[in-house]
Amino acid sequence: MLSFDLLFVIIAVIGNFILGLFTLRKNPKSATNLLFFLFTISITTYIIFNFLVTYQKTDQAAFFWVKAVMSNAVFINLLFFLLTSTFPSPKFSLNRKIFWASTIFSLFLAPAAQLNLIFISAKASGGGGVPGIAMPFFLLHTALYLGGGFITLVKTFRKSNGFEKEQVKLFLFGTILMFISILFGNLLLILIFNNSSFIGLLPIYTLIFISTISYAIVKNKFLDINLLVARSVVYTLLVFIIALFYTGSIFSVTNLFFNGQITRLQAIIYSVFALFVALTYPYLKQAIEKLTDKVLFKNNYDSNELLSSLTKIMASTLQLEDLTRLTLHKLLETVHISKGAFLILEEQKFYPPIAEGFDNTNFNSSLMEWLCSFKKILIFDEEENPKIKIILRQLNFSVVLPLFVGQTIHGLLVLGDKKSGEIYSSQDIKMLEIFGPEVSVAVQNSKAYEEIKRFNITLKEEIDKATKDLQVANKRLEELDKIKDDFVSVASHELRTPMTAVRSYAWMALNRPDVPLSEKLKKYLQRTLISTERLINLVNDMLNISRIESGKIEINPQAFDVETLVDDVLLEVGPKAKEKNLHLVSYKTQIPKVFADPDKVHQVLLNLVGNALKFTPENGGVSISFFTDGQMVDISIKDTGVGISSDDQRRLFQKFGRLDYSYVASATSGGTGLGLFICKSLVSLMKGKIWAESDGINMGSTFSFSLPAATPEVLKQAGKYTTKVDGEEG
């Protein structure tokens, strides 16, 4: 019995002392920690004195230690009172007057025990004691200090939340149990029944205290301590089991088989055991670790697994709302958090929060901005700034994680209490610190994506509007084009009618006069006629060009014999050739039909032959020859005229590309400088080519153009050679 007592005392003393020391070392500057340390010391000495009381054989010796116990009790009361009024703040905040009053009262009361005023006498071996006159004061002191302490603790409990609440709860629970036990076993039993036989149980009461506080530490925010404690437990258990097995094995083997004598065989057997132990050690350790993990980390989760599934969610969607809602849900579910919300900032305004578990998500945005301004993770339980702490408590935020990418903040992730009421472990915080930047980038991407989406919508609207504008403008242009065409058409008609009249009457005056004309008058009338012809040709050519350039000319190809057409043209210009006594000849060869628009070819031929006649002096010749390679038919008009300088050859087919040399000639020939350009355009429209050759001035010229031969292949693709015009005026 005695040895058991002693064992408990030793365990309680060491436990209390280590607990106090550990707490002090954690934060020596904290008033709470210091007071807690002193409190555990006072309990330690109390246990020792108390044990010494039970250990004494004589009443006198027992009474001596009883007095020590009572003095010690006064200090326990005082330290408990001071501790509770401070806990869990690191600063000593008790009212100065109350502090001094309580301390002075205690300082008077403590010596009273030594002066035999609390107990007058005491008996050894649980015989009880006789209370003295100061006993009521001691009871009052105990009632006041412990009662005050508990009331303060309950108040603190009510005010706190999260981890703190849990801590206070455990502290309250441990101390209440301990004090009630002490009051009952060590004071009331003695005073009422005069029985002190239960005082030996004191260490057990303090053990309750130690275990609850230890539990608080193990479950506390510093996972490292948590882990340290856990591993310590593992190793202690491991060593204990191994040692027990090993010694037990050796003991039993030695005793059973060898009668306590160790032989060589024994040594071998020991070695076999040792080997067995060594081999089974890792499995044993694993099993124990699993067991302790299960007990100590009930709500544990795998950070890597959580982070990778969060990453998967983030990769799966670009929609901001899905992204935040899904990751939030996963986070709350896995870490067992009661509530949380994403507060996403967009151009200094918060989106409506994406929240889960919050009753009211109408967060004050200026407060949220204020929380953003700290630019760091805020954890309620670790926060030392009282202002932040108050705000966080009001808002029910336990963690505020700002979402930063570089220097840009994209919002906040706020989290409430854990469902268990526990605080956020360092594992949680570490995980959040990794998750924070990842989700920030994802949020940024989502925001960019939403912005692009919005931009696309705007862009589409803009394009639609621009397209509509263009359509309107286009329609207007079409109208203007039509007006222009109408104008050109009407203007040319209106111009040609009087010009035709001028020419006709001039011709009549010249050719059918009823009186003889003087030479002078004849000359004047001739010039009038030529100029009018030029004017008419000019208007016709310009109208032609206008139609070619605006794509309003039709090409209706058919297969026909171009040699026959040449004959017609020669017949047409015959009178003119005769006037200048020019020799006209067409050299016929075997050529295929061409596939072209006969009217247009007629126009081209008339123009080229007309030019040849125009620029060939009297008594000259104009010859037309044909050539074919089977695919194309070339028609060449060769004259013995003025020729073209090599410089001029390039300009021939340009608009108004009339040549310097021929300018004088053209003044009397009615040329417009547009004829060759029109020829080139028409030939091109019929998929042919036109070119000119001359050996130089006065060496004659050869104008040639080619047309596609009417081969079966060409006829098959007649559409390619056809040009239709829509909306030609009727």
């Binding site: 010009m499 009549m508 032609n544």
Partner: protein
């Protein structure tokens, strides 16, 4: 062929041109009648009996194509000779439409000299003689 027996109707709104053609053809010996607008022309054409009709396209009141359309759908009791359309260059589609409506040929007014016009007229009369 004696021009004196041939009756020609000239439909032309421009007075000078109309009178010019009238003089040119009368001097040549043809019996010439004239019409200055589409309605007069239509009436005269429906009376019939012309050996040749020179029909301008752009006319007041009723244009040449309409006259041709009327003539085609509602031919007169007394037949006329060929109808030759007086046009200007750059009216390809009009010429095509005129042919579709029964015109026998066309004369590009501005492109031809008066004697060339006479040649054309003689040609048309010869072909239809």
């Amino acid at each position: 062929m004696d021009p004196k027996n041939k009756k020609i109707l000239i439909v032309e709104d421009d007075q000078f041109l109309r009178e010019f053609y009238q003089e040119l053809l009368s001097t040549e010996g043809f019996v010439v009648d004239v019409a200055a607008d589409g309605e007069i022309a239509n009436t005269k054409i429906h009376q019939g009996g012309f050996d040749l009709i020179m029909l301008d396209i752009m006319l007041p009141k009723k244009d040449g194509l309409q006259i041709l359309r009327d003539y085609k759908t509602n031919p007169p009791a007394v037949e006329n000779g060929p109808i030759v359309v007086l046009t200007n260059l750059g009216q390809d589609t009009i010429i095509k439409q005129a042919f579709d409506l029964g015109a026998s040929g066309y004369i590009v007014k501005s492109a031809l000299n008066p004697d060339q016009v006479l040649d054309e007229i003689h040609n048309y009369l010869k072909v239809n003689a």
